[in-house]
């Protein structure tokens, strides 16, 4: 069996950006289908409970569970079709996306595409990062929010960025035992950016609420400390951290061990650009916004006519930027299709977007990854988890074959495994650039090929009929 869908606008991803885009375009009169890989809509930010779980009294749930309610209700009311469990894995002809859904292959014929594929977490390799029990902060939050399962009995949070705070809050709210929180930056490094915060009181208030939650739990963040290794036999048993300076370089004699059975480490997010690359959109390297991002104009249209982007895929900026940007993309795409969209509506959405992006950029500036953290990666440290390639192999390949990410990937197989370079790709590019003394832009981003995620041959066989 194979299936075909046809619509005006396909939105890829049902997180804040995608839902917002779908709602804006539907309200403007366009027919919209949202394609999303997960069983429930909402993306990572509005993560929903599994449909099989029941909630006797929804009013008793805290905002972790209900913050997406208004958007999801509006999307439902507007009659937007959301295709769950639908993976977009290919794009072979203009105006057509190849998908699989519950073991069935299909194609979606569209006039416009809005890519709202979001981001994934940036983890920077250290010895022991492949041990069971080491995971991403977002992964731990998803386990608790979506699965009602604590990741472990004694948890350490580490890395950098404001995202560690809501993760801590979610874990604490679920009764987790958090042993320590390590943040790579120090408040005094943020001070010079403080004045730029003045238009973002709502976000400051949110930050203060998190601080109170931590204080109530008797926890304080240990600033200026980074993970140098995780140790354990068959799973993580302890984490070793060191103090670092403002450039992320470790300070001798500051080593400290903390026992744990779960270590959550993340250094912000990386835009998930595999689909925009496959669609042949032009990309540029933007360190501030998380790495390679598609180029786009004020209407969120990329260099490929009819392909729009919104939210984290367009550059890391947070959920509020994603909501605003989705609205701009949805209105713009609908207008291009001939639907009536008032100039004032679009301009007000663009102003909102600019303000939210300004805050996102400020956060990105304050919590930018420090170079010392990459310098810490020793030659024998594993970089590619799928193909088991070490940093030394990447450096050797960069020295022998030149500072092109594609060459290093081809020689070492780093980035050729199941995850297709999502976890290691940015590390490969960074290590290659450092080994060769050139920029990330010169090294280039890893190329992508269909399928964008592994797809079963049997699922595709029906397409041949």
């Amino acid at each position: 069996m194979s299936f075909t869908m046809e619509t005006d606008i396909a939105v890829v991803g049902a997180g804040p950006a995608g839902l917002s885009a779908a709602l804006a375009a539907t309200n403007a009169g366009a027919r919209v289908v949202v394609l999303d890989e997960y069983p429930e809509p909402g993306g990572q930010f509005y993560k929903q409970l599994p449909a099989e779980f029941s909630v006797p009294d929804r009013t008793k749930l805290d905002e972790d569970y209900t913050k997406g309610d208004a958007v999801l209700a509006a999307v439902k009311k507007a009659g937007v079709t959301i295709a769950n469990e639908t993976l977009v894995w290919g794009a072979f002809e203009a105006g057509e996306l190849s998908v699989t859904r519950r073991g069935e292959a299909g194609s979606v014929k569209v006039k416009k595409i809005i890519v709202a594929s979001g981001a994934y977490e940036r983890v920077i390799a250290f010895p022991g990062w492949d041990l069971p029990g080491v995971m991403t902060p977002g992964g731990a939050q998803t386990l608790v929010k979506n699965q009602q399962q604590l990741p472990g009995s004694r948890i350490v949070l580490a890395g950098s960025g404001p995202f560690l705070l809501p993760v801590a809050k979610t874990l604490l709210g679920a009764g987790a035992n958090i042993a320590a929180i390590y943040e790579a930056t120090r408040p005094r490094e943020w001070a010079r950016h403080a004045l730029r915060l003045w238009r973002h009181w709502d976000r400051i208030a949110e930050g203060l609420r998190y601080r109170r939650t931590l204080a109530d739990a008797g926890l304080s963040i240990q600033f200026g400390r980074i993970v140098v290794r995780a140790e354990g036999a068959d799973a993580v048993e302890r984490v070793v951290t060191m103090e670092c300076d403002a450039s992320g370089r470790t300070i001798a004699g500051t080593e400290q061990a903390e026992s744990c059975d779960t270590l959550c480490v993340g250094y912000g997010f990386i835009p998930q650009v595999q689909l925009t690359r496959l669609l042949e959109c032009e990309h540029r390297y933007d360190a501030l916004r998380g790495g390679w991002v598609p180029k786009y104009g004020g209407d969120m249209q990329t260099s490929v006519p009819g392909v729009y982007v919104a939210g984290e895929v367009a550059g890391i900026g947070g959920a509020y930027a994603a909501l605003a940007e989705g609205w701009v993309a949805g209105l713009s795409a609908a207008r291009e299709l001939g639907h009536k969209v008032r100039d004032t509506a679009l301009m007000s959405a663009q102003r909102d977007r600019a303000l939210r992006r300004q805050f996102g950029d400020l956060v990105n500036t304050v919590f930018a990854v420090k170079p010392g953290i990459f310098e810490l990666i020793a030659d024998d440290t594993l970089v590619c988890r799928c193909e088991e390639v070490s940093a030394g192999e990447i450096r050797a390949a960069a020295a022998a074959w030149g500072a092109r990410s594609g060459a290093v990937k081809g020689v070492t197989r780093c980035g050729m495994g199941y995850c297709q370079g999502r976890i290691c790709g940015s590390l490969l590019e960074e290590l290659t650039a450092r080994a060769a003394g050139c920029t990330r832009a010169e090294v280039g981003g890893l190329s992508v090929r269909p399928p964008l995620k592994p797809v079963r041959v049997g699922d595709l066989a029906d397409l041949a009929e």
Partner: protein, 109 residues
């Protein structure tokens, strides 16, 4: 969700009730789970942190990103290899096993 001896379940004061009880077969042994749970969460609830061993170095791996990106949690589920435990919801009688890896090279350790 019911309290467990190791205390790893969320204490939500019954605000959220997982689906009906089901039983998976993990390497032929029964593993209790609840509908709506992923295979990865059911294994973690049972204290099973190691999901597989890598094919070159034979190193243990567990749940890493929990959102379908990293593919570290791939297992063999109902005869299909390479299935993400974090993206697969449990079914009664589901057969789960740690993958028997294709070993193209000698293990390094």
């Amino acid at each position: 969700m019911t309290a467990s001896s190791d205390g790893d379940y969320v204490n939500n004061e019954s605000k959220i009730i997982p689906g009906a009880s089901v039983t998976l077969q993990l390497d032929g042994k029964p593993l209790p789970a609840r509908r709506g749970q992923t295979v990865a969460a059911a294994m973690l609830a049972a204290g099973q942190r190691v999901l597989r061993h890598t094919r070159h170095a034979g190193k243990p791996r567990g749940l890493f990103c929990a959102m379908g990106v990293c593919f570290d949690c791939v297992m063999t589920i109902d005869g299909k290899a390479g299935v993400r435990a974090c993206m697969t919801k449990v079914e009664d009688g589901m057969q789960v096993s740690s993958p028997v890896q294709f070993k193209p090279y000698e293990r390094k350790s």
